[in-house]
Amino acid sequence: MARIIVTIDPEGRATVKAEGYRGKSCQDATKAIRAALGQETSEKKTPDYYLSEQASNRQTAGN
């Protein structure tokens, strides 16, 4: 199941990550919450991001 995990540290910094989304769709899913919280200071794409993008590209190519 797709979910968004927001962790707020004792200094008030928030980390937002999405699980169970494929490729770029996770960025859309977290967009509202990211904009609501404040100013983005860093962004990291985990290996899954590229893997799932490739997977969906492959599917598209196969269809």
């Binding site: 199941m1 797709a2 979910r3 968004i4 995990i5 927001v6 962790t7 707020i8 540290d9 004792p10 200094e11 008030g12 910094r13 928030a14 980390t15 937002v16 990550k17 999405a18 699980e19 989304y21 494929r22 490729g23 996770c26 960025q27 899913a29 977290t30 509202a32 919450i33 990211r34 609501a36 919280l37 404040g38 100013q39 983005e40 200071t41 860093s42 962004e43 990291k44 794409k45 985990t46 899954d48 991001y49 799932s52």
Partner: protein
């Protein structure tokens, strides 16, 4: 998991600020234009970004903390409200008042956004003092 973003919390929503104060047991006072502090800047602490020495003591809203004689002021800026407070000496405000407010605000703001989207939220306190919200989309 495929994407992690770190965000510096900005206090922009008065509803969430109000909810953050409730969470902390503090009292939000809308429209209070001054906040109690020592009254004179001694140059012994760094001024918040974009705040001048002359602006200290003045605010747009204020927060009262039980047991503290000094208060927290919220000053409106282009980047949301900046908390101003004096933790020196007898004011009895915690040194980390601004960080505590930012954490409580981010929790409440994220919960509000999740609710608005019709998602359920599970809140968990972590051992390092962080709070984790799991939003089921």
């Amino acid at each position: 998991m495929s994407h992690i973003v770190t965000i510096k919390t900005e206090l922009r929503d008065l509803h969430a600020i109000r909810a953050a104060c409730r969470r902390l047991g503090w009292t939000f006072v809308e429209g209070q234009r001054t906040y109690a502090w020592y009254g004179r800047y001694m140059g012994d602490s760094q001024l918040p970004e974009g705040i001048t020495q002359e602006e200290l003591g003045h605010c747009d809203h204020a927060i009262r903390v039980p047991g503290a004689s000094y208060e927290i002021g919220l000053k409106a800026t282009g980047r949301g409200f900046v908390p101003l407070w004096d933790y020196w000496m007898s004011g009895k405000l915690p040194e980390n008042a601004g960080q505590r407010l930012a954490q409580a605000y981010a929790i409440e703001k994220a919960r509000m956004e999740a609710r608005r989207a019709g998602h359920s939220v599970v809140e968990r306190q972590l051992a390092d003092g962080s709070v984790q919200l799991t939003i089921n989309a």
